[in-house]
Amino acid sequence: MMENFDAVVVGAGPAGCAAALTMARAGLNILVLERGQYVGAKNMWGGAFFGPVMSELFPDFWKEAPVERYINRHVISFMTKEDCLSVDFKSPRGDYDSAPGFIMLRAKFDRWMGGKVEEAGAIIATGLEATDFIFEGNQIRGVKVGDEEFLANVVVLADGANSLLAAKARLRGDFKAKDLKQGVKEVIRLPREVIEDRFGISGSEGVVMEFVGACTRGLPGGGFIYTNQESLSVGVVVQLSALLEKQVKVSDLIDEFKDHTSVRPLLRNGETVEYSAHLIPVSGVKMMPRLYADGILVAGDAAAMVLGTGLILEGANFAMAAGAAAGETVIRASEKKDFTASILGHYELLLKDRFVLKDLQTFRNAPHFLENPRIYNAYPELACSVMRSIFHSDGKPRSNTFNILGKAMKGKVGLWQMITDAMKARKAL
């Protein structure tokens, strides 16, 4: 007789691994299907991970996980074609207790996490892509990999933003270009000492830099630099629909960003070793699918569990929290021997009770707010032109700062508009 797993998990990313780990630790019989040649083969991100979910799942993880650096410096910059105005926040200690986040590379990190999942007793089968479900009436009873069938009481779907299975499970229609951001990244190798000197860090300290403005030619999105141990992760993220409408290629944007006067010196003599791309579902609760049905739960990017407020960027953390909640739900369903939607609905209650759905609800207006083109155009221009005027000395009597601001705003943005935007920001963020 064919083996019947307690659960089949599709995708060995943060959501899938957290789910598999939770269930395997409770003694359930778990199969994880990963389409990549190895765990992590298909996965990329900007580079940082925040929050306590990691240490709940893997106590003391920072002692053994392949953490590149601990974030102790955060730089946010407004950028015009030539200028750059930054807020630079540095907090001195770069160890776990005080660090707000970790910089990691996914190929290494996911592989480590996969190892932990296997240690807990789950089977991870790589190089296998689940392409369809096995249905028994409306109840999902497993997945198909080509002609092969894998039976399970529950399927935990964690196959990422491009989940084709989510539609086949009738949980959602396809995402829209407006609700997606496209991220591209280059990993640029540099000697460790050079990175530490250039970014003003030492030991395990790390820097996250985020840029808004000319790096996306004013389109919704931004640029980023993360310091790894011996490389930099450098990239841009842009709303996909804006690229299509304005006929802009992200491959041109990343080159312009790397060549910006404020970025180029940071990358000097670096050697690009990888170029990667990924889609990010960014519209939050508005694009979120049904999270469960008979015999299935969906978690992570596949369920659009991403929060971007400009300052906060959460994806993997939500994915892991949701994966763990999915795992707990399956454990409960296994005790009751009932895998219908009525029992699996517990998953949504758990998410509502925890920060994932709470945060997404709190910031539900952020995605719309962040579509405001002035954030990427008028305001970076304004901020930089004010600074330019303040620091400019041409031998003539100076204006006071307020007059400089007034002059700089002319033609760019009205006072009323600015007040309205500030009020909207207060509400959305």
């Binding site: 298909k42 996909l240 690009t272 990888e274």
Partner: protein, 90 residues
């Protein structure tokens, strides 16, 4: 640095089987060719005579192209399990 040079740095396990198929008939009737701007790997190339060719080998599997085409000309699936891009850093 050209995109093709960047792609040459990546590790791929290229399948003989094509995973994305573009219907040239439907493609011909499209003026805007948004696929050109969707693909970060520049797998879609617009030629001087206005036709688009597609090569799957450098595909980063991001899925952007399938959200770009309103002519329904792109038949998108992942490469078979184990094939396609194999990120070393990610």
């Amino acid at each position: 640095m050209k995109v093709e040079e960047k792609l040459a740095l990546n590790k791929f396990n290229i399948d003989r089987e094509v995973h994305i198929r573009v219907d040239e008939g439907k493609c011909r009737g499209c003026d805007l060719k948004p696929c050109i701007y969707a693909c970060p790997a520049e797998c879609y190339v617009l030629w001087a005579d206005g036709h688009v060719t597609f090569s799957y080998e450098g595909c980063l599997e991001c899925g952007s192209c399938r959200f770009s085409c309103d002519k329904d000309a792109i038949d998108w699936v992942n490469p078979r399990g184990g094939f396609g891009v194999c990120y070393q850093y990610g």
